[in-house]
Symmetry: D2
Subunit: 352 residues, 4 copies
């Protein structure tokens, strides 16, 4: 089968012919129908310090996907052959104290597809049966592929209470704009979004932001304070990892407010715990992965009920063979989610 | 009456003769029986940058006290004349949205005794009737004076769930050791305490710490990880404001753990949001003041039931006339709480 | 001034000429602009056992209203003369432990307008300044009058988490249909409503119910289970007090679900704690009054943002002089909220 | 092997010779070291209506036990051969939405040892490997056998917040007195316990109750109100299922209080939702089973730290061959937990 592989230490990815994956006793074999690109995949391609520390070539990369079950291991429960599934990329142990107390997203033995074991930019992939989440048969492949990334948005917008509240979303990449849609669906009363890209702010508005601000031209802090009549925001969803955005978010956070942090800072930063957290009596929540499996059930509900429509997030489709152009598009930032199809005939929209 | 006053901008305090305070219609006049020294009072004496920004001389300083009601304004509800009371030092407006929604500790119109209005290092002080908290008539004055400071400890140890959990307390000043006693009373299963002063670590043990660590001689991180069998602590109570302690606390915090931050950093610091909060899926709570009045009711319960005994925290008693020596003792760090008595005859133990 | 008064023990109400109310030092005098009828007012008119036990004639009745401040007591803070205000009918002590810990709705010294002290079916009424909630000057009087009743709906729909969940509302009287609108605004994903009146079910649909059921013709239990694919509902909002509806609600409640109970049963009833609560691991919350003042701030937000529109709930307008017909309309059940105007010129729609 | 079996419909149990259990691929085979009697086992012996509806003979009965792993299925993870384990009696599916969202105690496919599949009153039993909870090798067998029952107590005392609060425990059977010990360990400030058996009240005091009341001689309601200075209790832990106790508990529950209900009423009962829940603004939680596996981790912590000592609960030891006398002792109510040993040589105390 064909697969996109990090063949050796250093920048770049290659399309390679590989034997079909072996299917473990607890696993299912999936024929990949669609797969999407995440910022992590860019880091692995570019071989940045994080990738150098976490990835051991050779490795099939990629972790967002949907596919159809084509084979099952002897012990595998879970979806039947022929079932369309989305994939949870965190393979957890189900045995540690975190896994056994509803905190599987914190499993200390987590292995991530496309990072710690072979990933999904391929025609086929084998994953634990319990990581394959059944989708309705008529779900478009591009939407089904998005679900694990959508789950980050659901997690972030579910930990603080957004319902009835004023929310600031800093960072309007794909997860940011999906978080806007989730906050809207969960009853947020006002959603302000900030990003340095006008392309992304446009996407933010289409996903439900009431007001968008570009720090390159807008004074984020004074505008947020004005719009909230001097009170500030109730909830900060920090999706950028950018120190300036983090500072703007905490500065406009109301005393007693809540912040959820998903965006990863590239290193430690200068941070004022006293002004940003202590004097405000604020609560801050770190967000990692998807809560297994409560966030997946929440996703299912939001999509089925029509409360969230992810269609506007899908902006580009490519054949997997064309992965170089797909990655370039993703790297440009002038895009939402970029979907790749191992079999171009599976594309649910025109390819670029 | 005699009072300890910051008479002008610059270091130092003076004992001054002042007229009796006027009693507003909503206020009670208190004869001060005992008053205690807080770190804030040292800052005001020393005239550090914070004090320069927040204090306008002339001002009677001090904010921790107990006293007896000797007069009441025309409209004043609350305690009767002759009643022993402790004083909440935060005078709040009772009208803003914070005050009206159970978050008076975040009142945007807060004025603090001894900081924003005349304080309690005096023979008499007038305070709003609602700030005077009735005490049992037989409560020792030194204990009654501690209550507002004790309230910081109750607040800190009540926001994260300590019950049944493993707790690290970084910083064993008076509030830190009182937080140890509260965590013990509220059912913490293991309490580790750290401080750079052996004097304070000794006090920590007397207040209920199971294990004490001095970062000058102990490897805090490895010891905490060993004692918790590699899991780390469930709850961090950060009472020091010291960057090194903050780093040790967050490094040993378990994924999914909770931190409550009371200790004020003197400025912004280098902080790793990704490693300390995000990847851990941790929750962090800023702690300021006392929740009005839920923490006061909790205090009352903990003291009445005997679940907390504050006696070991009181280490030094002085006449108020001797305030210079009292302040020196406090500044030395070789002490718990230092209590001063305007009338030495009120002292509930030998004076220094 | 004219006022509707329970003049003596026994059924009936009378329009009576009374002297203007005296205004206490903490009070404001309000010129009543609009007032609405609640089920409680019917009970007082009809002199049912509850009324006999709680009301001591002579008494001006009524507790839902809006008005304009025309005079203030000497000590009264709060709204200025000329301000349009809605009124919180629970006059609480602000001194008990409940009031001081954010639970004023449970104040043990509560006196209710129109029940324990003179009410609002009058040209003028004096209330504590803190009970007068400022409204925008352009808010229609009929909407402003509804707010305290709306607050019951906000309270009920805010205690369990409705956001992202499937909700059953049993009982579609005015509070029930307002709770539907609140649940919708707070992000409920599916709202089913039941009532025995088709008139009310029609109102429920206009306020946002996805599906309405009339137990006289529909099998509520089997339909709810079908619609939820056999899972049952996540949240029950019980607004009827009817044993049959309570039973249907708890029978269809999912294991681990949450119920909020506002509807008052007229007496104790046969209830299966084991099947309805214990085996299900369910959580049940009693709802009384409005949380002071968090629910009022939430109301303000929901109305200002346009997330809730109460217009469809107002179905009838009468002059206060015509109170007998207004009460008959309310008693018929074929209505939403019935509004009365002391001055017919203040009516914001055609009078009946 | 020998096993205590319900051989046919009707009262009674028999010691029977059975072949060794087969060990499924995911299972472990345990040599039973100690097993204890629960009220459910009495119902099955007596063949009451519940037992008739839920038990299909022939069936090995019993569900509380500890034992040593002597064999493992091919796919079984979990404890090694030779490991001492306690057993969780609820065999859950690990696949339904409840199991996958941290609510395994509500699994809709639960099968219970000794009720829905063969139980543990036998020399050997096969259970899923994930149901075998490793114990320290030096844990006394009688204590290890108690853990699943102890877990009910932990669950009950953990759902409402007991820390710093006044608690009433109605019903002092074994789970009730263990709940007293848990509430004490988790920081309850006052624990009142009621039961109609003086034997059990004595056990309650030994497990940490501050005050015990026997409704046959004490006026529970007035005493509780007196002791709490008219306020009532903050938390009710209802462990009896007796209507009179339930009524006393809710009557003395403070407005805004929390109740956890574990005791099963034998049928529906007359209950005043308005007075007991609604007007009080109370929250009521149904408790079933043990939260998988958070309550087991909590148990481990409470036992390891010495915060709870279960020794006083073990009052009688029998050889399993002597099960008839053991059951008679349990039925008398004059006992705590009754432990049976398949091999009398394993007894950790004198046999009766």
């Amino acid at each position: 089968m064909r697969a996109v592989v990090k063949t050796s230490s250093g920048p770049g990815l290659e399309m390679v012919d590989l034997p079909m994956p072996e299917v473990g006793p607890d696993e299912v074999l999936l024929q990949v129908k669609a797969t999407s690109i995440c910022g992590t995949d860019l880091h692995i391609r570019d071989w940045n310090p994080w990738a150098q520390a976490h990835v051991a070539p050779p490795l099939v990369v990629g972790h967002e996907m949907c596919g159809v079950v084509v084979d099952k291991g002897l012990k595998a429960d879970g979806p039947d052959i022929g079932q369309l599934v989305s994939v949870e990329s965190h393979v957890v142990c189900n045995r540690c104290a975190f896994c056994r107390t509803g905190k599987g997203h914190l499993c200390e033995n987590t292995r991530i597809l496309g990072v710690g074991r072979d990933g999904v930019y391929a025609e086929y992939v084998a994953v634990p049966a319990s990581n394959a989440w059944p989708d309705p048969p008529d779900m478009p492949y591009s939407i089904a592929s998005l679900q694990e990334n959508f789950g980050n948005a659901v997690h972030t917008a579910s930990v603080p209470l957004v319902s009835g509240r004023k929310v600031l979303v800093t960072g309007c990449g794909p997860v940011g704009v999906m978080a806007i849609a989730v906050a809207r669906a969960l009853g947020a009363r006002l959603i302000i979004a900030s990003d340095i890209s006008d392309y992304r702010l446009d996407m933010a508005r289409r996903m439900g932001a009431d007001l968008t601000l570009n720090p390159r031209v807008d004074d984020v802090i004074s505008t947020v304070m004005d719009v909230t009549e001097g009170e500030g925001i109730d909830v900060l969803l920090e999706m950028s990892g950018a120190p300036a955005a983090i500072d703007q978010g905490f500065t406009t956070l109301k005393p007693g407010g809540e912040a959820a942090l998903l965006g990863l800072t590239s290193s430690s930063m200068d941070f004022d715990l006293a002004d940003h957290i202590i004097f405000k009596g604020a609560s801050v929540h770190g967000i990692v992965g998807r809560r297994l499996w409560i966030d997946w059930y929440q996703m299912r509900g939001l999509l089925r009920s029509g409360a969230v429509d992810l269609t506007p997030v899908v902006t580009h489709r490519f054949a997997l063979d064309d992965f170089e152009r797909a990655f370039e598009t993703m790297a440009s930032g002038e895009c939402g989610k970029v979907i790749m199809f191992p079999d171009p005939a599976d594309a649910d929209g025109p390819l670029e």
